[in-house]
Amino acid sequence: MGAALLAIGGGAFLVLRRTVRAAKPRNPLLVLSLDEYAIFAAVAARVVAVDGDSPSTDAVDVAGRADAAMALWPGSVQVEFRRLLRLFENALTGAVFRQGFATFTASTAREQDARLRLWSRSDVAVFRTGYQAMKRLACACYYAAPETWPATGYPGPPELPFATEAE
C-alpha cells in the first residue's frame, strides 16, 4: 500500500497542476529538485507556523537545511522522501481528500493546514507516517537553528570558562 501510494507521487504526478515555487534555494541543492524544495518549504511554513516572535521558516532556510541533512541519507531513503513530497503536493491527493484539484503549494494556508491535518489523522498508515516524516524534518531543521531559540526560552549552551585554562 505504502509503496503504491509513493509510486503515485513519483510516477503519476499530475502534470496539469504545477508546483508554485514560492521559495527559492539560497545554495545549490544537493538532493531536492527546485519543485521539491518549494514543496518542503511550503510544508515547513505550515508545520512551524511562526508568529511575530520568531523568524520565519524561510529566514531560517528550513528547506535548505533539510536538503543538506538529506545529503547524508542513503540514496533509497532520499528517493522515498522525494516521492513522499511529490505525493503530498499532488493535486490528485487533494482530490482524494475532497479538497479539490489544487496542489499543496497552490492552496491557501487554511487548505494546507487541512491537508496536513487529514494526513496526520488518516486511517491509511502511510499517510500518517508521511506526515510524521515531513513534520519531524521541518521541526528539527527549524528548532536546531539558534535564531529560533529565544522564542522557546532556551538561552543556548553555556560558556565553558575553564576550557582554555585546562588545556
Partner: protein, 526 residues
C-alpha cells in the same frame, strides 16, 4: 584546573580518510563495534595478551572538535542513521549512539547493576543458570571503579529532576537518587550531545584507551558489511568492512578485511542481529533479530509557573522503580529526560499554532518519561530486526501489544499525578490529540485516546535483544557464555544478547555481563 582528559585518548586509532588502499589484516581477535560491550571486551582480551583489532562503523569524535552542545551537529554525527533511526512506521523514534565509544558517547550517564528480578527471570525462563549477582559483582565493582560510578549528591538534582523527586514524595511514591559515571561533572546538561568537558567516563576515555595501551588497534569509519564463513559454516574466517568517508558517511571504495582466530560482534542491539543476517550465519530456528526490546518510552509534559530550565544540569539524577513489579502486567519505571529545542519539537504533538504554543513554554516545561519493562510477560516477544532486501536497509518493527498500551496508560496517569503534585499548572500527554490534565478527574480521558503508530509519541533510548542468549538453541542465538550456538569462534558481546529488557538503564549491565563473558572466552581454548 585539570578537569579534562586528553582530547585524543586512543593512540593509533585509524580513521577512514587515512585508509587509502585496501587492507588485509590479521588478529587473534577481531571485535566489531566499540560501544560498552566491544570496548570492555577489547580491553580484557588485549590485557590477556591477545592481538586485537577493533572495527567501528562510526567516527572518532572528541570534545574539542565535535562536542559543541548543538543538536544540529550532534544528532546527525553521533546517532545511528544520522538521528533518523525509527521503526518502519515511524511509530517509535530510536535514539542510538554511533561512533568510537558507541552509545556511551551520548548516553545520559545513568548506571544500574542488573536487577535480581531480571537475572532470576533469565535463569528460570531462558536457562542462563549462572547469570547471578555473585558472578557479576566483581566485574561491576571493577567497572564502577574504572568509570567512577557514584550516586549523585542531592545538591546535584536540578529543578527538572526535582519535579519527579518532590512530586513522588508528596504522593508517597518511592524514588531513588541515581548513580552516574562522571568525574568532575559541571552539569552542563549536554551528555546526549557528547560530553563537552570530558567529564563522562565513556568508553572513548576508559576501556578503549586501556585496550589500545595493550596493543589493540582501533579502525574507525569501518563498517563491517559481512562476516565471511568457512565452507561448512562452522567458523567465521574474516570480517569484511567498507571504509567510510567521515565527511559524507559514504563508502570510499576501500576495504578492510580482518582475518582472525576469533570474532566478537558488538554492534549493539539492531546492528548486531543485522550483521548476522547479512552474513547468512546459521540460524535454523530463525531467532536472529527476534525478541528485540526497547524499553518503550511514553512521556507527559507539564507546564509550571516558574522556570524549570530542563536544558541544564545533570540530565538524570532521580528515578522511580515503584511500578516495576505489576503482577500480570507490564512494569515500568520513571525517569526525566533533558529537553532541548530540537528533540522537544519532535516529541510535541500537532503542528502549527498548537505545536508552537508548547515550544514557547519550553523553559517552564517538565517531562517525566515512563520506560516499559518489555519482554517479561509470557508472550511478549517485543519487536524484530530484519533486512528489507539482501544486504540492504534494515526493517525494524515493534508492534505495541495491549499489555504495552495498558502500561503506557497507567504510566501516563502516574506521571501526570506526580507533576501535578509538584505544582504543575497543566499536564499534557503526547497523544495526537493531547489529553490536557489539570486535576485527577481529567486522567480518565487517557483511556479513550487511540494509541496506534503515530497516534502517540513513543521513543526508545535502550535497545536490547535480537541475539538473545539462552540455553536452548531453538529459542536463542548465543549460549550462556555469549558464544554463538552454531559458529564456534563467534561471540556476541553487547545488549543484543539480553533475552528480555532489563528494567533499568543498560550500560552497566552490558559492561559487567560482557566482562564476565570475556573472562570465560579468554579461558576457552581456541
Amino acid at each position: 584546573m585539570r578537569l579534562l582528559s586528553p582530547d585524543h585518548p586512543i593512540p593509533n586509532v585509524m580513521r577512514g580518510h587515512e585508509i587509502r588502499s585496501n587492507l588485509s589484516l590479521w588478529a587473534d581477535v577481531c571485535v566489531v563495534g566499540s560501544g560498552p560491550g566491544g570496548a570492555i571486551a577489547a580491553a580484557r582480551l588485549a590485557a590477556s595478551g591477545a592481538r586485537v583489532i577493533l572495527l567501528e562503523e562510526g567516527g572518532v569524535f572528541t570534545r574539542k572538535a565535535d562536542f559543541h552542545m548543538q543538536e544540529a551537529e550532534a544528532y546527525p554525527k553521533l546517532y545511528q542513521d544520522h538521528g533518523n533511526r525509527a521503526t518502519d512506521d515511524l511509530g517509535i523514534t530510536i535514539l542510538q549512539g554511533r561512533g568510537v565509544g558507541g552509545g556511551t558517547l551520548v548516553n545520559w550517564t545513568t548506571c544500574f547493576r542488573t536487577p535480581e528480578a531480571t537475572l532470576a527471570l533469565w535463569r528460570e525462563r531462558h536457562g542462563l543458570v549462572d547469570f547471578t549477582a555473585e558472578r557479576f559483582s566483581p566485574h561491576w565493582i571493577e567497572v564502577e571503579s574504572r568509570l567512577n560510578i557514584r550516586e549523585v549528591d542531592p545538591s546535584e538534582v536540578n529543578d527538572h529532576n526535582a519535579v519527579l523527586l518532590e512530586g513522588a514524595k508528596k504522593l508517597g511514591i518511592e524514588t531513588e537518587l541515581l548513580k552516574r559515571n562522571v568525574t568532575a561533572c559541571l552539569h552542563t546538561g549536554y551528555c546526549g550531545m557528547g560530553c563537552p568537558t570530558n567529564a563522562k567516563r565513556g568508553m572513548a576515555l576508559t576501556y578503549l584507551p586501556d585496550a589500545a595501551s595493550r596493543g589493540a588497534r582501533v579502525y574507525a569509519d569501518c563498517r563491517v558489511v559481512r562476516l565471511a564463513l568457512d565452507a561448512r559454516k562452522e567458523r567465521v574466517t574474516a570480517a569484511e568492512a567498507e571504509v567510510l568517508d567521515p565527511a559524507m558517511d559514504r563508502p570510499t571504495g576501500h576495504r578492510v578485511t580482518v582475518s582472525a582466530e576469533r570474532f566478537v560482534v558488538a554492534g549493539g542491539a539492531i546492528n548486531s542481529p543485522a550483521l548476522l543476517l547479512k552474513s547468512g550465519v546459521p540460524d535454523p530456528h530463525g531467532r536472529v533479530g527476534k525478541r528485540t526490546f526497547f524499553h518503550p518510552v511514553v512521556a507527559t509534559v507539564a507546564v509550571f509557573d516558574k522556570r524549570i530550565d530542563p536544558f541544564y544540569g545533570a540530565p538524570q539524577s532521580v528515578a522511580s522503580h515503584a511500578f516495576i513489579e505489576r503482577p500480570g502486567k507490564t512494569g515500568f519505571f520513571l525517569e526525566v529526560p533533558p529537553l532541548h529545542p530540537m528533540l522537544a519539537s519532535l516529541a510535541l504533538p500537532g503542528f502549527g499554532e498548537a505545536h508552537r504554543g508548547g515550544m514557547k513554554q519550553l523553559s517552564k516545561t517538565s517531562a517525566v518519561i515512563a520506560l516499559l519493562r518489555d519482554g517479561f510477560l509470557a508472550g511478549d516477544e517485543g519487536g524484530t530486526v530484519s533486512l528489507r532486501e539482501a544486504g540492504g536497509r534494515l526493517s525494524i518493527r515493534y508492534p505495541l501489544a495491549e499489555s504495552h498500551r495498558e502500561a503506557m496508560r497507567e504510566a501516563m496517569k502516574v506521571s501526570a499525578r506526580i507533576q501535578l503534585a509538584a505544582g504543575a499548572r497543566e499536564v499534557r500527554t503526547l497523544h495526537r490529540d493531547p489529553v490536557v490534565i489539570t486535576s485527577e478527574r481529567d486522567l480518565a480521558a487517557i483511556d479513550g485516546r487511540p494509541m496506534g503508530p503515530n497516534e502517540i509519541a513513543v521513543f526508545t533510548a535502550h535497545q536490547m535483544g535480537g541475539c538473545a542468549a539462552g540455553a536452548d538453541p531453538a529459542a536463542s542465538v548465543v549460549d550462556g557464555n555469549l558464544r554463538h550456538h552454531h559458529l564456534s569462534n563467534l561471540w556476541v558481546f553487547d545488549g543484543s544478547v539480553f533475552p528480555t529488557s532489563l528494567g533499568v538503564n543498560p550500560q552497566l549491565s552490558i559492561l559487567g555481563i560482557v566482562s564476565a563473558a570475556a573472562e570465560r572466552m579468554i579461558a576457552t581454548k581456541s
